[in-house]
Homo-oligomer: 310 residues x 2
């Protein structure tokens, strides 16, 4: 085997597989998006459904500080679905891919028995350091970009019929944090990173688990987006549920050296004009995963585990 | 952009996308395999279903003379499916991947509403020349490896309840032609290649179409596998239907220089002890696609086109 022979640097278990391909480090990930499981036709335009499927797949590349390059699109579709719906969905996919700089290079289309099934494979590369889930250390600050809970509150509004167009848009039009992820991957004081697809508690837990340490979230430090606060006040909901357990915001969560994290945050804000906040800290492993001092469990976004647990 | 910057050499339209990744040429393809569309649980063991899904995806790499490296496995599964079924399916997938030398590096699992949905993305590389669909020339011989029609006759037997275990095995346990494809890609007298997933007429038509020429198939030259002949005789079927229109054998079809094709076939047989046969020739484009002199049409394996045509 030559030094540049293709090899697996990191396989199953992180946001992307990390592969050595000649003199390049490649990132590869795939993401299923299924009608009436992940989205509903009545909730969004076809373009939004396509955008969301692409953005959620692309976010796995952002979560490692990578650059998206190529995508393969597999779509299964029942015969009765209108061509105009599929065209709109594809337009949304293309739009999200184009905005991220990725090119659709292949795919497969076939019939399905029920509902539209989308599987997106995204291939990217790292031009420098790849940020994995593992690497966080006890004492590291837990930091999140942006605001949390908007997307899951949007889904709550859509499911309950409440009118909250901006929250619905957060659910169906998330934007992967590519420039932010790439910038963070260049900073040595950032030790581990993930995108928040499953909710802050679970995803911070994924970093802790991969790093074989614990994590403690302080809910009082998580900023509440004003429209989330207004929605919760008007509908008798607790914003913390969305902010801690709600996924699909595709914000970044990372572990950073506490000695330099304040400088990092100041520079990040100057660069991106985006909210970024310390919301907890990583701890010794025997403390497990805690929210406001109370033990939490990490189940991950595993539908089978959820089924078995219920 | 540096000379080694990632770029698309060939995108949508061939068996794989051909991508430049640093100093390597990468092949990427994906393939959906859906319960009650592509396979039935009553027809095969879970291991066979997994094997077939993997083999059909891997065959796209073989069709270009590539070496399979990595795979991503997306599986959606209804809650009622037994764990033992999914374990068997995964064992079959792993077995086919291992035999081809590919490593599963990632994937996604989720619930489905109906039936098991498998999408396999395979990544490979070319260590030399990549054989595409385009490149055939008028006068080139049309050559096929192995025997055709076994897999589709196997499906016919399974659907009709006829007992034909060896044909059923051909349907559920095809073997991608990796060493043969790689060997052929090193021969300059081979101009274009495809794997036969849609049937000889359609796939030879795909080469002709991509090469902007015609193709003429001589059905009398296609060898009839004895077990296919026996099945057809016993069940009142015409073997030519399976041999020309039946897909999923995953044999290779290619265009070769007529001046040296007999030498090529002799060397191939000595190397692989496998049947290989000239079954037609490529022609000027204005002759279109013909079987035994009669015009044929190329529809490709496009379920939507089939639906619109019916």
């Amino acid at each position: 085997m030559t030094p540049s022979a293709p090899s697996v640097i990191e396989g199953i278990g992180d946001d992307c597989a990390i592969l050595r391909m000649g003199n390049r480090v490649m990132l590869a990930s795939c993401d299923l998006s299924i009608e009436n499981i992940h989205w509903r036709r009545s909730h969004a335009t076809p373009e939004e459904i396509g955008w969301k499927a692409a953005a959620s797949a692309l976010s796995d590349i952002a979560a490692m500080g990578g650059v998206p390059l190529f995508a393969l699109v597999s779509i299964a579709c029942p015969p009765e679905v209108e061509v105009s719906f599929m065209e709109g969905l594809y337009d949304g996919l293309l739009d999200a891919m184009a905005q991220s700089g990725a090119t659709i290079v292949g795919g497969d289309t076939t019939k399905s028995r029920e509902g539209v099934v989308i599987d997106l494979t995204v291939l990217g590369e790292s031009e420098g350091r790849v940020l994995m889930r593992k690497g966080a250390k006890p004492g590291d600050a837990l930091v999140v970009t942006g605001f949390l809970g908007m997307a899951s509150a949007g889904l709550d509004a859509l499911e309950s019929g409440a009118r909250a167009p901006e929250l619905a848009k957060a659910h169906y039009h998330p934007t992967p944090r590519f420039p932010e992820g790439q910038w963070l991957s260049e900073r040595q004081e950032v030790h581990a990173m993930i995108d928040i697809s499953d909710g802050l508690a679970q995803d911070a837990g994924h970093i802790a688990e991969a790093s074989r340490i614990g994590v403690s979230i302080d809910s009082t430090r998580i900023p509440v987006e004003p429209r989330l606060a207004a929605y919760c006040a008007a509908n008798g909901k607790n914003p913390l549920v969305f902010m801690i357990s709600g996924g699909e915001d595709y914000e970044l969560a990372f572990a950073a050296d506490p000695a330099s994290v304040e400088d990092l945050l100041r520079e990040f804000r100057a660069q991106f004009h985006t909210s970024i906040t310390i919301v907890g800290e990583f701890t010794q492993s025997d403390l497990g995963i805690r929210v406001d001092g109370a033990p939490a469990t990490i189940k991950g976004f595993d539908h089978f585990a959820k089924k078995n647990a219920s």
